[in-house]
């Protein structure tokens, strides 16, 4: 798979794009040089001071002041955003709610000035999300230009999940919201026995959520990616055949899975022809044993209904590539 490096341009040189080279006289150059020298002295002193405070574990207003001065001119200095976050985490634990609210509101204003310098700075946006997540009273409407205001004394994961639900309902084509959902669900409703790491009843509800998205706009890719993840197909292969086998010819392979806890085994033969790189086989193992991964009756029924609906939709929209794949 060959990719030209242009993808990296986007990632970390945004501040360097589009800076016009301007010719100046030697006097102008000298004046500029003096100015930059002065700026540099302050900048370096600030950086040293910030690193020193962080090393000493000092989480205070002075740290906010120093990091603020540097980040205002250089919001891509990611390590300082991390330090600033550490200071706020300390503040959250040690100040009263009103103080925290005020400080974080100021932080949002500060972030707005940083975003003017570089509107695509990951550091700034990440920090903004952190602030919104942790404010005693986040003003979502102000933040997202939405009509509804969320009054909370603590912003927690469930609220964040609600927030993504709202975002998805407002606009299904919101890749970020689906992504965050995939991270939040295993945290809010964990179930380690499930391949996706999320409780079964929650997953079944998610099928509904994603189905609504799919039927509203079958061409939107975000929901399809999420659907695939729900099915547990986002995870890698169980195992790879070691690549020390020389040459490509037809081969027969026997795979044995062993349960480490009690040494029970399950074996399955597979055939791979010369032009195949991957093969699937339906296991002969009896259902209900530890080597099968089946869907519950509820999940099967939900998916069967889904398949019916998708088939219907496919008949209405035969050009849609996602639907063709699914059926």
């Amino acid at each position: 798979m060959i990719q030209l490096p242009c993808a990296r341009v986007w990632t970390f040189t945004l501040t360097k794009h589009g800076r016009l080279k301007v010719k100046t006289t030697s006097e102008q150059q000298e004046a500029k040089r003096k100015e930059r020298e002065k700026k540099l002295k302050l900048y370096n002193a600030g950086t040293q001071a910030a690193f020193s405070k962080r090393k000493k574990g000092e989480h205070d207003e002075e740290g906010l002041k120093i990091t603020g001065e540097i980040l205002a001119v250089n919001p891509d200095f990611y390590s300082l955003w991390n330090f600033r976050k550490e200071i706020y985490l300390y503040i959250l634990d040690n100040r009263n709610k009103d103080e925290v609210q005020k400080m974080m509101e100021d932080e949002l204003s500060f972030l707005e000035t940083c975003l003017k310098v570089n509107p695509k700075s990951y550091g700034s946006w990440n920090h903004r999300c952190f602030v919104m997540d942790n404010m005693p009273k986040p003003d979502w409407a102000r933040e997202l230009h939405l009509r509804f205001v969320v009054e909370r004394s603590n912003v927690n994961l469930e609220d964040e999940l609600l927030f993504t639900t709202h975002k998805i309902q407002t606009n299904f084509s919101n890749y970020s919201s689906w992504h965050y959902r995939s991270k939040l669900l295993p945290l809010v409703y964990p179930d380690h026995s499930n391949p996706v790491g999320v409780q079964e009843e929650v997953l079944l509800k998610e099928y509904e959520v994603v189905q609504n998205a799919i039927f509203t706009d079958p061409d939107d890719q975000s929901a399809w990616f999420y659907h695939r993840w729900l099915l547990g197909r986002g995870y890698g292969k169980l195992m790879d055949i070691p690549d020390t086998i020389p040459g490509w010819s037809d081969m027969a392979v026997s795979v044995t899975l062993t349960d480490d806890s009690d040494c029970t085994e399950f074996s399955q033969g597979l055939n791979l022809s010369a032009d195949q790189t991957e093969t699937w086989v339906l296991s002969q193992e009896k259902s209900g044993t530890k080597f099968t991964a089946e869907l519950s009756a509820a999940a099967t029924s939900t998916l069967e209904k889904e398949l019916e609906s998708i088939t219907e939709l496919h008949n209405l929209e035969p050009e849609n590539k996602f639907l063709t794949k699914k059926t």
Partner: protein, 244 residues
């Protein structure tokens, strides 16, 4: 729009001089303010000097020492000494030199950035992004760890999420591209910019030179487009080009 007075030939020696002098007394402010990406800057500088046949002008021991000092306990590598671990700089360091760092730990860190769609974000928990994916796939290829990737899923992601590159109408496009890249050179200072007339920097200098190499310029060494490293480096390290 390419200005009439833009350079039309490759000014190789000027670029060598530009990179060799970069980080010296000149432009100190610019250099300091970009400390947050120094590891990548080192990779860009080393690679472009190698491609131009002047790697000897760079200080190998200094570089190795620097990289080692930037690796953290978690395996991740920071942009510079004292800077936090970050995915992009972990890749840049690996592209520089594998033996100097704890590869297993670095792999662990990179894999912790894998997401539900098979892609990678820049930190654990961050959304997938094609730039990040390029870095991570490159990293996993270099370290022989491509089996961790679900190739079908990621391939699907890339096809769906990438903007269409548009049709390539053969030689005509390649000629235009060459002209454009050459026009991005600065004939006074050396180096390449992102477009004609803009300020130059080592990043665009690397990709300008690498681009010209891919387009067939024989005064520049062959570059491997998967890793954006000289082909000779890939061969020398015996990296099995693990392709998905």
């Amino acid at each position: 729009m390419i200005p009439d007075n833009a350079p039309k030939t490759l000014l190789l020696q000027k670029h060598v001089d530009y990179i060799a002098a970069y980080g010296g007394k000149k432009d100190e402010y610019e250099y300091s303010i970009t400390e947050y990406l120094r590891m990548s800057g080192i990779y860009w500088g080393l690679t472009v000097m190698d491609l131009m046949g002047h790697l000897d002008k760079m200080n190998k021991n200094e570089v190795l020492q620097f990289v080692q000092q930037c690796q953290h306990e978690c395996g991740g590598i920071g942009a510079s000494i004292g800077h936090d671990p970050h995915l992009l700089y972990t890749l840049s360091a690996v592209q520089g030199r594998l033996e100097a760092i704890d590869v297993d730990k670095a792999v662990e860190f990179v894999l912790s950035c894998m997401n539900f769609d098979g892609g990678f974000g820049c930190r654990p928990g961050s959304e997938s992004h094609s730039g990040q994916i390029y870095c991570c796939v490159g990293f996993l290829a270099i370290t022989g760890q491509l089996h961790h990737i679900n190739a079908d899923l990621l391939g699907w992601w890339l096809c769906e999420r990438q903007l269409p590159s548009g049709g390539l109408n053969g030689q005509y496009i390649l000629d235009k591209l060459t002209k454009f890249i050459l026009a991005c050179q600065d004939d006074e200072t050396g180096g390449f910019a992102d477009r004609p007339g803009d300020m130059v920097d080592p990043f665009h200098t690397l990709f300008g030179i690498a681009g010209l190499s891919l387009l067939g310029d024989e005064t520049i060494k062959a570059v491997n487009p998967v890793f954006c490293l000289p082909e000779s480096v890939i061969q020398r390290t015996g990296i099995r080009l693990d392709l998905l």
